[in-house]
């Protein structure tokens, strides 16, 4: 695995030039891939709760982004927001497909996230996981986009298709709700 995490877009090595310039487009895409792959997968997998589907959707999102890179316009948002918007649409399409076919997908048994409950940290992770599961899907998504996807508020707004203040308000409410369910008596 060569993909690594990096600071949110605009401060890291995400492409800064317009993707319309075909010459640097491929290199810019490569940099976008390196900076976003892990976060994007984490976001998609958390949304879908299915590792195989998450891999498919992640790969599909990168492929779509690569094929449509000529259409990307920097004036309409950062490449990171654009990529997450593509991944979000693909993930939602996958959820719809599942809903149509009535497929039942349970929580992924992910060894990498298996929690040892011996310590306080582990207990808190379990608590937060349970709290996230209790959230409304839209609330959970906005938290995942911010916490896991590490999108700026502007990027969050772009992905959710709303204004920046609206995205901020939604995020604030979702965090408040997560706190409530985490601190609620079990």
């Amino acid at each position: 695995m060569t993909a690594t995490t990096c600071p949110p877009s605009g401060t890291g090595d995400a492409p800064s030039g317009s993707a319309r310039h075909a010459g640097g487009a491929a290199a810019q895409f490569e940099a976008l891939y390196r900076s976003c792959a892990s976060d994007l997968y984490a976001y998609v997998a958390s949304m879908l709760r299915d590792a195989a589907a998450a891999e498919d959707v992640t790969a599909l999102a990168f492929e779509r982004a690569y094929r449509r890179r000529a259409l990307f316009d920097l004036r309409r948002g950062s490449p990171r927001a654009w990529l997450f918007a593509i991944a979000r649409n693909a993930a939602l399409d996958e959820l719809r497909r599942r809903a149509r076919s009535g497929a039942l997908v349970g929580e992924p048994v992910d060894e990498s996230t298996r929690v040892e409950v011996d310590d306080e940290l582990g207990e808190r992770r379990l608590l937060v996981r349970a709290g996230l599961a209790q959230l409304d899907a839209r609330e959970r998504e906005v938290i995942l986009l911010k916490f896991v996807g590490r999108l700026s508020n502007g990027e969050l707004a772009r992905v959710l298709g709303c204004s920046e203040s609206s995205a901020g308000t939604r995020l604030h409410r979702a965090i408040k709700r997560l706190r409530e369910v985490c601190h609620a008596p079990q």
Binding site: M1, T2, A3, P7, P8, T11, A26, F29, Y33, A37, S38, Y41, A42, Y43, A45, S46, E55, T58, A59, F62, E63, Y66, R67, N89, L92, D93, L95, R96, A99, P108, D110, S112, T113, V115, L121, R124, R125, L127, V128, R129, L132, D136, A137, R138, L144, K146, F147, V148, R150, S152, N153, S163, E164, S165, S166, G168, L171, H172, I175, R179
Partner: protein, 384 residues
């Protein structure tokens, strides 16, 4: 709603969140939020190394899919070309049927005066009253009145001949210095085709020179005359019209027949009259009837003459511009043709634009609606 409209509490939390995600130090009051962020991030699924390797390779290969080539690019191009062709054909049809080209090509009509202009009622097979009469043949037969009847006319109207009166109007633009020469040419051309100048008025006075002619010419010779006159000066306008006078002719003919029958009856009555007063009365009626018969017969003759001879009104005006630019030389004709081509091209482009604009707007609206509906359908996945 702008960012500044967020409450201070929300703004503070968002700032703290950005600091936490950027690994910047935060105050004690935000440690709980930092712990929450860490817990969510720590619990997020990790990418499988095997999948990461596969994805790396696909990215390095630029998502090349030899087994699954791009979706029929040739077919897409073919569809695009087909769509463009259909659009062009539709545009051309609309342009032609809309008369855009007719308006321009009308200027070329003088070159082919036999062409039926807009407004002319003549149709193929229509009787041409001035057609050289033949006893029988493929083109028609001759009536007792010397009026030619086309086979189609005979089939359509029975034995009644079809009479068509033709007329036209021609405006020529002559250089001021050639006004008299053009006027003489008009007279000569008319006489050459067997026509007559019924009236004429020629005024030679520099740039305000003008001439008007009223010509009568055997109908079959009208195209030849127009062609001949067109060569004398530049054609400004030409119009031709036809009028079917068959009904008027048959009505007049029937009236004459009736009156002649009445006259015959009166003559018989005169022969059988027994008193002088009765004879005088009948004689007066016969005299009056003869007058009416003579008038009706003259009217019949006038109708036939009208069908035989076409009338052409010719106006000659000065063309200072044409004179100054060297008249109707080949360069000027080429220039005129070029302008006409540009004119037509512009007309086609305008019509195409007028067609394409609403289509494009409609397509945009459909695309926007479809995208909105699709996104709404996606969002509903959260509720599933």
């Amino acid at each position: 709603m702008r960012r500044s409209e967020l409450s201070p509490e929300v703004r503070a939390e968002l700032r703290a969140l950005d600091a936490i995600l950027a690994r910047e130090p935060v105050g004690e009051e935000d440690l709980e939020l930092a712990a929450l962020v860490d817990s969510v991030r720590a619990d997020a699924p990790r990418i499988d190394p095997a999948f990461a390797d596969r994805l790396d390779r696909r990215v390095a290969a630029r998502f090349d899919r030899p087994s699954a080539p791009r979706r029929h690019p040739a077919r897409k191009r073919l569809a695009l070309a087909g769509g463009s062709l259909v659009a062009v054909v539709v545009t051309a049809m609309i342009v032609v049927s809309g008369g855009v080209l007719n308006g321009t090509s009308a200027q070329r009509k003088p070159l082919n005066p036999t062409t039926v202009l807009p407004g002319a009622a003549a149709t193929p097979g229509t009787f041409n009253a001035a057609t050289p009469a033949t006893s029988t043949g493929a083109t028609g037969s001759t009536t007792a009145a010397g009026v030619a009847v086309s086979p189609s006319a005979q089939a359509g109207v029975g034995a009644i001949p079809r009479l068509v009166a033709r007329s036209g109007s021609l405006t020529l633009a002559a250089p001021p210095g050639r006004m008299q020469a053009v006027a003489n040419g008009i007279v000569a051309s008319t006489e050459r085709v067997g026509g007559v100048v019924e009236s004429s008025k020629v005024m030679v006075h520099g740039l305000s020179s003008s001439a008007t002619f009223s010509l009568s010419v055997p109908s079959p010779k009208l195209p030849a005359l127009i062609s001949s006159l067109s060569s004398l000066a530049g054609v400004r306008s030409l119009s031709q019209s036809t009028l079917d006078i068959t009904k008027r002719y048959t009505q007049a003919q029937a009236g004459v027949a009736t009156e002649k029958a009445e006259s015959g009856a009166l003559i018989k009555a005169l022969a059988a009259a027994t008193t002088l007063a009765e004879e005088e009365s009948i004689q007066q009626k016969i005299t009056a009837l003869d007058g009416r018969i003579a008038a009706a017969t003259a009217h019949l003759g006038a109708l036939v003459s009208k069908a035989h001879n076409a009338r052409l009104a010719v106006n000659v005006v000065t063309a200072a511009a044409a004179a100054s630019s060297g008249g109707s030389g080949p360069v000027n004709r080429a220039l005129g043709d070029s302008l006409r081509v540009l004119d037509v091209a512009l007309a086609i482009a305008l019509v195409a634009f007028a067609i394409m604009l609403p289509l494009a707007l409609l397509g945009l609206a459909v695309w926007w609606s479809a995208a909105t509906l699709r996104q709404r359908a996606r969002e509903r996945a959260f509720e599933a």
